[in-house]
């Protein structure tokens, strides 16, 4: 029993980050119909900024750790939004709905951004002190307070996004564009502006994941890329462009990793994940909740 609670706790911890990461990717796909290979670079940028801002805020400005972290979090998200707006205006807005063109453009941007991070920060892993030290025990499963906070924040952000999509005018526009761009434009929805907002929200979600992960894992210039492949699997399973699908897919992949890693070994679990996704596509090519193209 205790074991299953622990495995469930592991699933939620792993899944929380996956969901945030995959949500951004799937949202961007939904509105722009592009596969953004540089999505991990947003995550990395945010995490790297946190690692340099927190020491600056606590030492130079003399604020307490939690305040320094919050300050760094806002700075990181702001910087990522600027990077997002920049790459959108110089690149992505010219390749909207061009799957291959946007794919290769995002690869080019990824090479530039990763090279820049390496040049600025060096390759050594960086870290920030834990903002919430200590461990907590939930129904027999142990996890760090920091991880618990991550799960809660991720749940809140995901919930917020869901409300935004379902309840606001912007959300309605995003959904309309994702469903049928031309029809949406005929209804007077400014496609380009909606696409930019969708892109920025996606980038902000990745930044959010980066901010949350910075106190937990070491940050390197390639940290974000390692989530990217998992996120691809998740959005295939969930259905490209589906918000609910990304949540279900994220938790599902986290469960495979958690349970498979325990009963077999992580290497086998990784392989199983890929085989699973291929099998999945064959049975249900549009994903759990995807629309048929």
């Amino acid at each position: 029993m205790e074991l299953f609670v622990q495995l469930l706790a592991n699933t939620l911890q792993i899944g929380a980050v996956y969901v945030l990461f995959a949500l951004g990717l799937t949202l961007i796909f939904g509105v722009m119909k592009i596969v953004n290979f540089a999505h991990g670079a947003f995550f990395t940028a945010a995490a790297l900024i946190v690692t340099s801002m927190v020491p600056f805020a606590t030492v130079e400005l003399g604020v307490p750790l939690w305040a320094g972290y919050l300050l760094a979090a806002f700075a990181a998200i702001a910087v990522v939004l600027s990077i997002g707006a920049l790459v959108y205006s110089i690149g992505f807005q010219h390749v909207l709905k061009d799957l291959n063109g946007s794919f290769i453009l995002s690869i080019g941007l990824l090479l530039i951004l990763n090279g820049a991070y390496l040049a600025i920060y060096g390759g050594a892993p960086r870290s920030v002190p834990q903002v919430l030290p200590g461990t907590v025990n939930v129904f027999g499963a142990t996890l760090t307070a920091q991880r618990l906070a991550l799960v809660i924040v991720a749940a809140v952000v995901t919930g917020g996004l869901y409300l935004l999509i379902e309840r606001t005018r912007l959300g309605l526009a995003l959904r309309a564009v994702a469903m049928d761009q031309e029809a949406a434009m005929l209804q007077g929805i400014p496609y380009r502006r909606v696409a930019l907002y969708g892109f920025l929200i996606g980038a902000a979600l990745a930044a959010c994941a980066g901010v949350l992960m910075a106190p937990i894992n070491a940050v390197t210039p390639v940290s974000g890329d390692e989530f990217l492949i998992k996120a691809f699997i998740i959005i295939i399973i969930g259905g490209l462009g589906s918000v609910t699908g990304a949540i279900i897919g994220g938790l599902f992949i986290a469960m495979v990793e958690s349970v498979g890693g325990y009963f077999f070994d992580p290497s086998t679990a990784t392989l199983a994940m890929f085989i699973l996704v291929i099998g999945f596509l064959l049975v249900r090519p549009q994903g759990i909740l995807g629309n048929v193209e």
Binding site: V17, G122, A124, G261, Y262, P266, A269
Partner: protein
């Protein structure tokens, strides 16, 4: 390379290009480095390049190498092998056939090293490498020399020492990354623990690039072994697992054979890394480090933001070995140098050194440097023991 260093922060990539193309001054010997300069292992490549540049500078300031009445300066040229065999082979082609490199002073990654070796051996080019496999060595590879300790040097003294510290140790779990180094190390590790009377409860693999380690930690904690050996896993991965193990309340002996960087380990694991044994880390800022190493280490920290480790410092030692061999052979012909290297004596950054390992590899092509066991105490690597290989002892007693 000083100009290159100044322009770097300015982002003048084009200038670097010109420099890379130009440097063919008459009496300059190019020393190649083939290492990952991008991706997750870039930190090794950057460190190795830096240490090599220091060695070259040191040699050049000493007046270069005078051979047969002619004086040569060293110049370091670095190639990104992206950790892959294809790029390794292409690096080798470019170095040998385009840039006329006759000496490779450092290479990282088993797959690219093997790819390079196919060419260097046929073309008679000296290849220094850090590959951990036995497969790159042997009398058929006379131009190949290993510049750092490998599992065959480290494991026996390292594991025996740990077992002495914890005599009642009975069970262990081995966690290996699924890469070339992990695959070379795993069987030797299992065998060595067994010979010391430690039972292996599980030997598990994980993919490089894994970000979440709770599943494997949960498994280890439920097996509850006396010791966990992280074999060839890089410090950041080990740090993540140790942190999760700490949360789950596991306590036992932590062993990192390929533990190179304590800083990286501490950055991730914090207190959870306390007490871990490291097999490939040397604290080059400690009292037992040589003056040269202390200076290099401080310089690297300044320039790269990271201290040196057993891998990155090895290019420095290789270059000093090459200088000694060139002087000894009174030639810069790799053909002659390869015959001199096995018996050459030189001052490595660790102190006097030479080559050995004929018992294990049937050919003396392993650089003899001490096996240093360190332990994490209060977040710092503390040297516990430093054992010279028997051959090195014999050599210094001569």
């Amino acid at each position: 390379m000083n100009i290159g260093k100044c322009t770097r922060p300015l982002g003048a990539a084009t200038l670097m290009l010109l420099l890379a193309q130009a440097g063919a001054a008459q009496e300059t010997l190019k020393l190649g480095i083939s290492a990952p300069m991008s991706g997750s292992a870039a930190t090794w490549g950057l460190g190795m390049e830096w240490a090599a540049e220091q060695a070259a500078e040191h040699v050049n300031e000493d007046g270069g190498v005078t051979v047969d009445g002619k004086t040569y300066n060293f110049e370091v040229v670095t190639y990104d092998n992206k950790y892959s065999a294809t790029e390794g082979a292409r690096n080798a082609q470019t170095m040998l056939n385009r840039d006329g490199v006759k000496f490779i002073a450092g290479s990282i990654g088993t797959a690219p090293v093997r790819a390079m070796q196919a060419l260097t051996e046929r073309n008679g080019v000296i290849l220094f490498n850090t590959a951990w496999g036995k497969s790159v060595k042997g009398p058929q590879f006379r131009y190949t020399f290993t510049q750092m300790n490998t599992p065959f040097e480290i494991l026996e003294p390292f594991y025996s020492f740990i077992k002495e510290q914890h005599p009642d140790l009975e069970t262990a779990v081995l966690i290996s990354p699924n890469d070339a180094t992990g695959q070379e190390l795993e069987p030797v590790a299992v065998e060595t623990w067994k010979s010391l009377g430690v039972e292996m409860l599980a030997s598990d693999w994980y993919e490089r690039g894994t970000t979440e380690f709770q599943p494997i930690a949960t498994k280890i904690a439920s097996l509850d072994p006396g010791l966990v050996d992280f074999s060839a896993a890089p410090p950041t991965d080990v740090g993540s697992i140790l942190k999760e193990l700490d949360v789950l309340g596991w306590e036992g002996v932590k062993v990192m054979t390929a533990g190179t960087s304590v800083e990286a380990l501490m950055a991730v694991a914090g207190d959870a890394a306390e007490g871990a044994y490291l097999g490939a880390s040397a604290d080059f800022s400690s009292d037992s480090a040589t003056e040269v190493q202390k200076k290099l280490n401080a310089g690297a920290r300044e320039a790269l933001g990271e201290p040196l480790n057993g891998i990155t410092i090895s290019s420095y030692d290789a270059i000093l070995a090459l200088r000694a061999a060139m002087q000894e052979a009174d030639s810069v012909d790799p053909e002659k140098i390869k015959d001199v290297l096995p018996s050459v004596r030189f001052d490595s950054s660790y102190g006097p050194s030479g080559f050995g390992g004929a018992d294990v590899y049937d050919y003396p092509q392993q650089m003899l440097i001490p096996v240093i066991v360190t332990q994490v105490v209060d977040g710092k690597a503390v040297e516990l023991t430093r054992s010279n290989p028997a051959e090195l002892e014999a050599l210094s007693n001569d």
